[in-house]
């Protein structure tokens, strides 16, 4: 992107004066720029502004009247000795744990499935299709089905675990209490891993098979091949894949919203996106919700920058 000095087309007129049709690129870019501003920039700036005012529903009718509180909303959010700050910290830590587990297992499953399906064998197409089903299903339909399966006395999960396998004595709750965390992790992995599978499978196609053959001649076993050939050659894919999955998982809103309902969020499944939604749309404190959103944005920007810095430095050294 950086090294694109436009080559001057042949027959260009002198430097003075504008070329005929100079405006065309701008005109073509114009709509995109305008919509980018409308759809992204203005809402973001509005959101940042909202985080500095006390926008409760008393002032919804006329935002201008909402008192400016400066950093007040941020102070409330970051005051970890109060119950509000503790709530955010708790939600943040839950989300971090959730993200790490979902990311690790989704990538692991995706990689395993992609490697397993790397070489042609009868029925490979069928497996590929089956593995991609969770990704192809409408999100809501899939999660609602999980919600049914997680019901305590009528759900399939407890039926299998307790009634058929007798692994547990008493039927546990999955949608309330501590198990809610594992319920949401399971659903998120189910939704996320096919994407990892798809990306890694595509990446594997670009690795020439003669590299494997050569290493086999040298006596490399499959694990050594995977570690020394597959992984390094998938590096570009992995760099992007992990970043994208991290951002999606950390910001996941649909899964908790559909799985637990719009109001009944168990503390163990209180992901940060839902926590912000809760502050904004259930208690109508938009200023405070915006402050949390800005903090989340800053956190994600920092993580992303560090990640990209580290990755780029390594690839320059390589």
């Amino acid at each position: 992107m950086s090294a694109t000095t436009a080559p001057s087309p042949s027959g260009a007129p002198g430097r003075s004066g504008l070329r005929k049709g100079w405006w065309l690129p701008y005109a073509l870019l114009g709509p995109a720029v305008i919509f980018e501003i409308l759809v992204h920039i203005i809402p973001m700036v509005t959101g940042i502004w909202m985080s500095f005012i006390k926008l409760t529903r008393i002032y919804l009718r006329n935002w201008g009247q909402a008192p400016v509180v400066g950093l007040g909303n941020y102070k409330t959010s970051l005051d970890f000795s109060s119950s509000i700050g503790q709530g955010i910290l708790h939600s943040f830590l839950i989300t971090c744990g959730f993200t790490i587990i979902v990311l690790a297992l989704s990538w692991g499953f995706g990689m395993a499935a992609a490697v397993a399906l790397q070489r042609p064998f009868p029925g490979r197409g069928l497996f590929r299709t089956v593995f991609l089903i969770p990704y192809a299903l409408p999100i809501y339909a899939g999660i609602i089905t999980w919600k049914f399966m997680f019901q305590r006395s009528t759900g399939a999960i407890n039926h299998i675990l307790v009634d058929q396998l007798h692994l547990l004595g008493d039927k546990p709750f999955w949608l309330i209490g501590g198990n809610a965390f594992w319920a949401i992790v399971i659903v998120a992995i189910w939704r996320t891993w096919p994407f990892a599978f798809l990306m890694l499978m595509a990446g594997l196609q670009s690795i020439p098979s003669d590299v494997y053959e050569a290493s086999a001649v040298d006596g490399a076993k499959p694990f050594r091949q995977w570690r020394s050939i597959t992984l390094p050659m998938l590096r570009p894919v992995n760099t992007v894949l992990i970043l994208v999955m991290f951002l999606w998982t950390f910001n996941d809103f649909n899964t908790p919203f559909v799985l637990f309902g719009s109001t009944a969020q168990p503390p163990a499944g209180d992901l940060i996106s839902f926590h912000i939604y809760d502050a904004s749309f259930l208690t109508w404190n938009f200023g405070y919700g915006s402050a949390m959103s800005v903090l989340l944005l800053v956190f994600l920007l920092i993580v992303t920058s560090i990640y990209l810095l580290v990755i780029n430095r390594r690839s320059q050294r390589a």
Partner: protein, 439 residues
């Protein structure tokens, strides 16, 4: 070339302005015949479609009388408050809207709705409404400037399944909390999948209502002026009494901790899986649609502990639905006519029956049920055993914060955890912090 550019920019600007303007063209015609009012109705019937069916003939009659057309949209309870707030912040939306009367104080404080005391004559006078019903929708001290007026009245009562009572040999419904718990224990038999009481344990609105009512029976106040005071002993022990139903008394199916809809427990009652349910009187519509007949179920007031002094013998708050006009409306005169029509004696009598609601007009007699006992229970509760929910601007925050605190406690209990008075106090204190931040 520069000239050409100016022209192009000018043309673009003109087009943009034209598009923007066409979006908000307003018909300023004052003739009633040219006016179409937008009306957002809340979900009162058994489904959104049912509401449409009930309301359409009523609205057609209004159009026939006045020439004003009404465009009806029925909105579910989970979306209604969000949509109203969106309409308020964008100044675009319906002319007339239904609200839960407990939201009244907050909307009144925001100035989003027309002050109806300034147009009292146009809606047939404010004195036609029962005082309890009218005052419930306003902030304390501002009840003479209501921003909404009552449309349907509702009250809590204790519904019971007569067949199950008979099978357990219980002849009269409980009159005190102690009898209520004793009866519930008799009616509980987990091996048959039958429980004494069913609750919507994950519904924060139901939970905050019962926290409020049991605390009120202890003489507790949730607010001192505008200041939230959620952690008094009276409130803690009231909440404890409600939680004990599922914890200590074990008369509630632990599965109920997952129910997040107020009509779920009624299904259990209709199916004979639960003997008693605390619900508002529109439950009749749900029970009938679940295959019960009038006479299969009975109703008594929400019981209080035997030693409760007379002034704390509270069984409900004056619940209900109010109707309001948005301040931004272009059709104030027509909207006022519509409010007058909806709150007229005729329309009220027509709608109370299908919606199973209590009259909100002075001296009107209830018509929602043919069961005289049931009518009496609810009318007495509404008029004599009621205490209004906090009439403060942060009432909505109170409902969500306290309601969710109770929801989480119920979830803990359902998983077998022991919830002590100090756990309840801690949860209520956290809820108070949240409300203070919003206030």
């Amino acid at each position: 070339m520069a000239k050409k550019r100016v022209m192009l920019v000018g043309a673009l600007a003109a087009a943009t302005v034209a598009i923007a303007l066409s979006g908000c063209s307003s018909n300023s015609g004052s003739s009633d015949k040219n006016v179409t009012l937008e009306y957002w109705a809340s979900n009162q019937g058994t489904s959104l479609a049912n509401d449409k069916k009930v309301l359409t003939p009523v609205l057609n009659k209004f159009t026939k009388q006045t020439g004003i057309k009404v465009n009806l949209t029925v909105i579910g309870w989970n979306d209604l408050q969000n949509k109203i707030n969106t309409a308020i912040s964008s100044n675009q939306g319906p002319d007339v809207v239904n609200i839960g009367n407990t939201w009244g104080p907050a909307f009144q404080a925001s100035g989003a709705f027309v002050d109806l005391s300034e147009h009292a004559d146009a809606i047939g006078g404010l004195d036609k409404f029962a005082t309890t019903a009218l005052n419930a929708g306003s902030q304390k001290g501002k009840t003479d400037h209501p921003a909404s007026v009552p449309l349907y009245g509702l009250a809590y009562g204790l519904y019971y399944n007569k067949a199950l009572f008979k099978a357990a040999g219980i002849t009269t419904p409980p009159t005190t909390w102690e009898e209520f718990v004793a009866d519930a224990k008799k009616l509980t038999d987990p091996s048959k999948g039958q429980y004494g009481v069913a609750i919507a344990g994950a519904s924060y609105t139901e939970n905050v209502h019962f926290a409020f009512l049991t605390a009120a029976q202890n003489g507790a106040e949730f607010y001192d002026g505008d200041k939230p005071t959620f952690t008094s002993d009276a409130i803690v022990s009231g909440v404890q009494r409600y939680l004990d139903l599922i914890g200590k008394d074990k008369v509630v199916n632990p599965d109920d901790a997952q129910l997040d809809n107020g009509s779920d427990p009624l299904q259990e009652l209709a199916q004979g899986k639960a003997a008693m349910v605390l619900s508002q009187n529109n439950a009749d519509a749900t029970l009938l649609s679940q295959g019960m007949k009038e006479g299969d179920y009975g109703v008594t007031n929400l019981p209080w502990p035997a030693d409760t002094p007379a002034e704390d013998q509270i069984s409900t708050f004056p619940a209900g639905i109010n109707i309001a006009i948005f301040s931004y409306t272009q059709h104030l005169d027509q909207a006022l006519k519509f409010v007058k029509y909806m709150t007229s004696e005729d329309t009220q009598a027509t709608l109370d029956k299908p919606y199973k609601t209590l009259p909100v007009l002075k001296d009107a007699s209830p018509s929602f049920t043919d069961d005289a006992d049931e009518a009496k229970v609810f009318t007495t509760a509404y008029n004599e055993q009621s205490k209004v929910l906090p009439q403060v601007a942060t009432e909505g925050d109170f409902e969500s914060a306290v309601g969710k605190a109770v929801t989480n406690l119920i979830a803990d209990i359902a998983q077998g955890k022991n919830v002590s008075a100090s756990d309840i106090k801690k949860a209520l204190s956290d809820a108070q912090t949240t409300v203070e931040a919003a206030g």
